[in-house]
Symmetry: C2
Subunit: 481 residues, 2 copies
Amino acid sequence: MSKTDFERIFHPRRVAVAGVSAEGFGFGRGIFLSLLAMNFDGELLPVNPRGGEICGRKIYPSVGEIPGAIDFAVIAVGAAQVPETLERCRRKGAAGAEIISSGFRELGTPEGAAREDAVLAVARRGIRVIGPNCFGIYCPKSGLTMLPGPDLSRESGPVAFISQSGGMAIDFAFMGPWLGVRFSKMVSFGNGVDLRETELLDYFRTDPETEIISLYVEGVADGGDFLRALKAAAAEKPVIVYKGGLSEAGQRAVTSHTASLGGSRIIWEAALRQAGAIQVHSLEELAQACLAFSLLPRRPYRGITVAGGGGALGVAACDMAEAYGLSLPRLEGEIYAGVLACLPQPGSSAANPIDIANPYVPPKMIKEALLQAARDPRVDIQIQAPLLYHFKALSTMMGAASFPEITPYEELAAAARETADASGKPVVVVLPNPRRRADDLDVEEVLRQARQAFLSRGIPVFDGLTEAMRAIRHVAAYAGH
Amino acid sequence: MSKTDFERIFHPRRVAVAGVSAEGFGFGRGIFLSLLAMNFDGELLPVNPRGGEICGRKIYPSVGEIPGAIDFAVIAVGAAQVPETLERCRRKGAAGAEIISSGFRELGTPEGAAREDAVLAVARRGIRVIGPNCFGIYCPKSGLTMLPGPDLSRESGPVAFISQSGGMAIDFAFMGPWLGVRFSKMVSFGNGVDLRETELLDYFRTDPETEIISLYVEGVADGGDFLRALKAAAAEKPVIVYKGGLSEAGQRAVTSHTASLGGSRIIWEAALRQAGAIQVHSLEELAQACLAFSLLPRRPYRGITVAGGGGALGVAACDMAEAYGLSLPRLEGEIYAGVLACLPQPGSSAANPIDIANPYVPPKMIKEALLQAARDPRVDIQIQAPLLYHFKALSTMMGAASFPEITPYEELAAAARETADASGKPVVVVLPNPRRRADDLDVEEVLRQARQAFLSRGIPVFDGLTEAMRAIRHVAAYAGH
């Protein structure tokens, strides 16, 4: 078999979509409509033995009847028809195919296993297979989208995601744009009969569009080879790994989900550490780590400041910092006095945590306080937690003024950027939202705008302190490795 | 001193508000306007030496010049004027006063400490003091509100919250209504010169309106007496305790926040356990525990099922369950077959976790599947995670239909209630939201409506599986105590 043509897989010019019904809600029809809605760059060729039309396009009765060659195929036919359909795609010259259909080894039946073996037999004849039982590939640049993604971002970025789980992949694809994570490519490989974790790691290690590799695995096909690939990739780029199914019951769930073999918690944790990978324990943690690696310089952060309205937030910050191997150096002397001079009195505290005491302190003063704090050589990075939701109560009490209008998130974001640039020490922002009543949708709206204001200036934003510290810790551990 | 008249403190008929300026953004003016906006039940009497008017009400030049007696006072004058103002309130017959002003022992200066001692001296002459350096009292029934709460809920419920931190209190007050937690009373006591954790525990232990007591403390005035009160309260009602500042740096932050003495982590953890209290480690965890205690029967839950679209969710569920002392019994035989018969094939799994495979499975079928699973005697409680955000992609692909219209959350909520009633085993719902882009505000809106649909039927809702399991675990541990 010749070298895998990943270019034709991620940026195909001609794509057959097998299993597209003219009506209804099937997965084949769904992915076809999603590809259209995403303005996929290439030509889409729907296939279904029943024929018909979809969105003005002729549905071919079989892949074989498509005129000319194809580069890639999306296969969403019934499991029994999959091997034959795949063979037809191979004969049409496809470099690869994703099989969305389920009904294979994950069933735990001999029939399922036999069907999967038949798929593998075709793959070995010269077509790379993603799946079966997967959500497919998402490539923002070409517009190739996964199930069920008619409205994913077309903006590319540094993060690759390799996922055994389709649900995990689509959730991360949804999260990326608001979280501030942009993707180079995403591959949900499901049962992974052919192309899976190890080869994809090797590919993304050398992919110039990928700077950060993230991975959700439930089990691996070849432990030794996987560790070889992981070590090689981690030597060049951060590799963030979420291993699902580390518990006993989790391993059982893994078997019925993607037909993988798990492995014990201790072995996995040691192996990941030795390979230099970053282990996370949820999709949220994985996504937040990707954000931190996207925006923070890779340094061994240890000393942090935490500045926010509310003393309890500071107390919580200290408790958490300890858990994440970070420390809050106590500001003293001239630096302490400098910070204190920027804050309203009484009620504030400058010792670090810096209690700003009042959510309405002007951004300029916060910037000054953080610049003062950054003079302490023990401070490596600063966390700022503006409690923007309090502006709603302020606007209610002020009467006329509208809440979004009086919330200075643009000024805060500009100040955070200037603080980071002038001090050379990154600023990270935490934007909590305890106001989530049906009539508080405006708070959510303002916070989303605020998040984008910070992100557009390269300032990472997290929902809470725990998330921020955990993500900083991952970057610090990687840099200090 | 006579027995504290908590009735006159929480439901005062006449309230002086000292430190209300006719204009500007001061805290005194803020709390006065908030009390008006909340439609506080009693009479509000604004006070400021500069006089003037506010919202058509005369501002009295001093508390002494208010005609007749008062029941309660809100004091927001400068720290130096506080002792004298408090003395005037006492002479006016007030049962209590909350001092919002800061500038006392938390400053760490002799002046601050002296001022606080002066406040205590007045209190000892016969007026109960909440504060100083606090956000005050929130009582939904009377409409007494804390800072900065012009728009808190007026609906009462079973949960009391005693908080050393004002920021924590107002955040929880905001969270209550959407989270599904209703409050009897909330007291933010700040520096706690007089009335604080121990006496408030004793009060809420016997308060007939309070069924669940929650508490945020940074330090206690008298460890032995606190433990006595905690033990007595915990013997009658669940008492949920968040102790802030358990780390070394956290203890330092505590000192500048509320001038309290902390105590070591090991001592605290042992003491809380011995007293029969439930220890939590964040406000979110505290709030979620309050929700679980509000809505779940108090039983020693161990066996759970987890049903949702997405195999990875099930894998994660198993990994988490282990961490929270819960287990997912593997469904077998007739029960397994019964569950499987309710689910779409292929792609689903009935072994528990129950992988529903497709987010669009009708509520009726999910109900049938859960009723089948509930027949297993090892199953104590069921978690259901409908991935409602996927309906947005469905509506995008379907074209015309609007996303909120096609999302069957009312049917799901009714089905969950019926499932719980018919099986006698509670159903808990998880509603994650990975779609938070600016143009996905409709997803947030639908999820908020869905949350209320479940809550209105007594079904607790959490954002994620971790939160749900952690909360269930707290109830189980309490019941199994």
